[in-house]
Amino acid sequence: MEAIAATPPAWRANLATIAAMMVRAKNELVRVPGAAIPGVLAPTIFFLGLNGVFGGLIHLSGFETTSYESFIVPVSMLQGAGFTGAAAGVNLARDYEQGWVDRLLVSPAPRWVLLTGNVLAASLRAFVPATFVLTIGFFIGVQWPGIDGLLVCYLMVAAMAAAAACWGSMLALHYKSQSAAPLMQAGTMALVLLTPAYAPLALLQPWLEKVAEINPVTHVIEAARQGFVGEVTWADTWPGLLALAGLLVVLGSLALREMRRTNV
């Protein structure tokens, strides 16, 4: 009787597929570094611009810090994560237009594996703009957030990029066109900035205060910001983690639904 070659377990094949998709995204970054420039430049310009323009707001009573650059730097890092996640959606739409997604869909890899590869690649790529913005921030006086503050901030950045990539992938698979890019970018931008991004909740205009109170990204901003403006506490961290988990479940499910609806 002939021996049947042992097939690797499914989980190992799935992990290998996810890793291969992440390596492909890394190769894109290494081979076409210019493509990453807009994603790095935009949050950096916003960071320096907002600091220059609205830096005087710290003189308002109710501000919990004397350094506006420290207050705003996590916002720009999360904005960079949002742009990176949206870019993952744009790249997926491009891959669809060029027929690459069709080839992935006829492979034996489950749809959730294909989505996870794209989303995790965005999470890793988000470290590039976040680190660039933070480095510039340290040069202009951002306070050291401590190791714990830094870890919490980077965790929020990675998870925010994953949530934004789910949003971008959902739109890419729905519209199957790169022309949906403004919708992907505007969505993540609104999600990050309709929060206490520019000023504490109490200083926002009443309508924005109400929106920020129900926007889950408010908890993400506050968790990422805590090390830069004070002490890191579990009480300020867990709402951010919970908000991101919720966003990932909802947006991930919607993206997966679009992926399952996509036919070759």
């Binding site: 005087g56 003189h59 900035l193 520019y198």
Partner: protein, 261 residues
């Protein structure tokens, strides 16, 4: 028919094409509406308490103050969009056919700028309407609103001239599109979003000399206080300077394009 009349007809025909093209392509018009409107809402809601800072000019609301900045942002994006549309024409070979036609070359650029001017006018009307809907007063009344619209439209032509020069020089839509971040840099380094006296160094000093600060103040004054001859003249001088720069750059880029084909 005289040369002038022929040129006017060519500019009219190309301008009408450019305006139709602009309003038919959502990708050209959506960036000048979506992003500045979103930022207007976010900045008004997020930094609105800034009007309580000592030294902030007397205004009815932060929305009233911000309208001029949003119009400037949309106008600059309109100039960028006009440059992209021109570069697409170059990439598709449409401009080459115009170069081969017996028409003056400057008419090709002026025709394109008509579309950009229409976008500028649209942007100013859009933001004035948003301001009025959400309760902002136009202190200068109808003449003030018309002045703000005229200054924004003229600025769009000025910025569009620079966009056209870059399109002619590079012939690449993606290069012109890549200038988008520069629009934000120029705006953040002007008094578009906050009074220059309350900005933080070095942005404060740069804003003092940035010609776009003069334009934005010229547009803002009729909205927050009333028409002021000095600020209007300063804005017009800044616009004239940018138009001159655009003309020089466009002429040089046109020569380059005709030489390299």
């Amino acid at each position: 028919m005289s040369n002038l009349a022929t040129s006017a007809r060519v500019v009219g025909a190309l301008g009408a094409r450019s305006i139709r093209q602009t309003f038919r392509r959502p990708q050209l018009i959506s960036p000048i509406v979506v992003f500045p409107t979103l930022l207007l809402a976010i900045q008004t809601g997020g930094a609105g308490a800034g009007i309580e800072l000592p030294g902030f000019p007397p205004v009815q609301s932060f929305l009233q103050f911000m309208l001029a900045g949003s119009m400037m942002q949309a106008m600059m994006l309109a100039g960028n969009s006009g440059g992209i549309a021109f570069a697409v024409d170059i990439e598709m070979g449409f401009t080459d056919r115009l170069f081969a036609a017996p028409i003056p070359r400057f008419a090709i650029v002026l025709g394109r700028l008509a579309g950009t001017a229409a976008l500028g006018l649209f942007a100013s009307v859009w933001f004035l309407a948003i301001g009025l809907i959400f309760g902002a007063h136009i202190e200068g009344g109808v003449p003030g609103a018309l002045l703000a619209m005229a200054l924004i439209t003229a600025s769009a032509i000025a910025v569009g001239g620079i966009g056209a020069a870059i399109a002619l020089r590079t012939g690449s839509a993606s290069v012109v599109q890549g200038l988008f971040p520069l629009v934000l840099v120029v705006l953040f380094l002007s008094s578009a979003f906050f009074p220059q006296e309350l900005m933080v160094e070095p942005a404060k000093t740069i804003a003092q000399y940035n010609p776009f600060s003069f334009i934005v103040e010229g547009v803002r004054e009729p909205i927050i206080a009333g028409i002021d001859a000095k600020q209007t003249l300063e804005a017009m001088a800044a616009i004239a300077g940018i138009i001159l720069l655009g003309l020089v750059l466009s002429a040089r880029a046109l020569r380059h394009r005709l030489r390299v084909g």
